[in-house]
Amino acid sequence: MKQRRSLWLMLVPLYVFTLVFVAGPLVYMFILSFETRAETWGVVQEFTLDNYKNIFQPVYLQTFAESFRLAITSTILITLIGYPFGYFMAKLSDAWKKRLMLLLMIPFWTNSLIRLYGWMIVFRANGVLDKLLMALGVIDTPLKLLYTYPAVVVGMVYALLQFMILAVYSSCEKLDRSLIEAARDLGASPAKAFFTVTLKLTMPGLLSGIILTFIPSMGLFFIADILGGNKIVLVGSLIQDQLLKAHNQPFAAALAVVLMLLTTLMISLYKRVTHSSELEGLL
């Protein structure tokens, strides 16, 4: 019993921290989303549903649609690159796994903004990419990719790819190779064995990778800002604008709540499909 109590005491700081810094702000944000923006500055504590109604204005729905489009595009690309990467990485020897893992981690030691500026140098008119392609004779005129939709997609893929790789990798690691051999033994071609056994059994990793990349790619506004200029507005950018430029805190809160609900919906779908309670690859 005594041990129980001391264990509980040890957990107290954790609970306090979670309450103050996670649950508290969430509750505050939720309440805020039902309040009214003051005429001049700040918030009036007056219940209203207007903030949520506001979201249904075409311009904001447009933003959600655009966010979804970008998220879907980058998630598809990330899946196409990340799944094979994680799959083959799991097949390597232990030494090579470690080396590759290190290579995947190294970029994180640099601030993500700085890395994004790197992409600016690559993409800008007459930048590294244009010069390279022109030198190779692939193109005649600069592509001027910076501040275009493709540039934002590349930035998203770059920023989120490793989540997919790690999720798929950890799923493939756990895969019992003898199952694939059994499938081959029972008459399945390598492709058939992949689709009937490998893909099915690594589905939790793949789905978790999709969630881990889809959700952030709707909110990573700074990527859209830096690589897309002002042309591409994501839900994340919208929230930021409403909060910092328009000073409409209740509306920003309502947008954030909707985004969070969508996220929760996706995770609960994941749980329903895979029957697992943890996201694969997230420790």
């Binding site: 019992d176 003898s178 199952l179 051999e181 059994a182 499938a183 081959r184 033994d185 029972l186 008459g187 399945a188 071609s189 390598p190 058939k192 009937t196 056994v197 099915k200 059994l201």
Partner: protein
């Protein structure tokens, strides 16, 4: 003799420059139950995987029903495997597992369902089709793995220590069932085990493997009664090994001088001459006690083991022999000097296997 269903021709295989198979030859007859017997690391699993097509030999050929299959992928071989770990697909029901090979071949649904029912019946798991593998006991999973491998009626069934994970009682029961199944289906079984008792019980022929080679291939009786090498003698039925020098050879009966005495041995065509050194293998149940002749020994201890009396004897040079007797009516006490011998046909000259 009929055309062998499977022939291995001088198959070699190494992993990371470590030779695992050093040129093995094997012929398996249709409908035969052949066991590859050996301790772990002797190359028996690699042999099986090469037959299944899951490994490619470095050299040599795998011939199935007269067709060279050496470089044919596993899915195109009329061979199925029961894996040691069962390798059941965890995301499929028992029925889907069993029907997998038929579904891959795009057979009609009704046909698959019927074949699955039949296979479940064969392994006595009727009504289990809708369960998931995780809901089954080890023995039941084993049966599913067997059902999955036979549903397609392969020409050859490979079994990699299929009973290794089961407890003794279940194992005995499954031995009988597997044998019954094999008789009923007429499928050629190539069976791997390190359990000599299992091998002796079930097989038509046993191939004793060691260090990537076959030490001896023969019927259980041949391997047990006429082991070719001291390794086989020790591994199959744990025989006593005795070194000596041939004193005389008459009518195939050798008199062998060993450890301060003289014992007989039967040798048909072993080409041994008086003066040659020889290694004898003698089963413990064949050791007899005598008044005179034979070789002197001292009783070290006696113990009961499953209805048998085990008598450990020490010879003049300190080496040990084990004799066994049914019943307990022998008044031997530890420390007592005795003389031992055996009938000539019970001692087999064996080759001393080189390491």
């Amino acid at each position: 003799m009929a055309e062998p269903i499977l022939r291995l021709e001088h198959v070699t295989k190494s992993f990371d420059n470590t030779p695992v198979l050093c040129g093995i030859d094997l012929e398996v007859q249709p409908g035969e139950f052949i066991t590859l017997l050996g301790s772990s690391g002797c190359g028996k699993t690699t042999t099986l995987r090469i037959i299944a097509g899951l490994e490619t030999p470095d050299s040599g050929r795998v011939v199935l029903e007269g067709r060279d299959m050496t470089n044919v992928p596993p899915e195109k071989r009329d061979v199925n495997t029961v894996f040691q770990s069962y390798a059941l697909f965890p995301h499929m029901t028992v029925a889907a597992n069993i029907g997998y090979s038929l579904k891959i071949r795009r057979r009609p649904k009704a046909e698959i369902a019927q074949a699955v029912e039949e296979a479940l019946h064969l392994v006595q798991l009727e009504g289990y089709g809708d369960r998931m593998p995780s809901e089954l006991s080890g023995g039941q999973r084993q049966r599913v793995a067997i059902a999955r491998a036979i549903v397609n009626r392969p020409r050859v069934l490979l079994l990699d220590e299929p009973l290794g994970a089961l407890d003794l009682q279940l194992r005995r029961q499954m031995q009988v069932e597997l044998k019954r199944l094999q008789k009923k289906l007429g499928i050629t079984f190539i069976y791997i085990t390190h359990d000599q008792e299992e091998a002796l019980n079930m097989s038509d022929r046993i191939a004793v493997m060691r260090g990537g080679q076959f030490e001896q291939i023969g019927t259980p009786a041949e391997v047990y009664d006429r082991p070719k090498t001291d390794y086989v003698a020790r591994f199959v039925g744990t025989a006593n090994i005795l070194h000596g020098v041939i004193e005389s050879a008459e009518n195939h009966v050798l008199q062998v001088r060993a450890e301060g005495g003289c014992v007989p041995s039967l040798c048909c065509g072993c080409g041994k001459q008086p003066g040659d050194s020889v290694t004898l293998a003698v089963r413990s149940e064949h050791i007899e006690f005598c008044e005179e002749g034979g070789i002197p020994a001292v009783v070290r201890e006696k113990s009961f083991a499953g209805g048998m009396l085990r008598i450990a004897l020490t010879l003049g040079d300190g080496s040990e022999l084990v004799a066994s007797r049914h019943g307990i009516d022998i008044d031997l006490e530890p420390g007592q000097p005795v003389r031992i011998t055996w009938r000539a046909e019970c001692a087999v000259p064996v080759e001393e296997a080189s390491e």
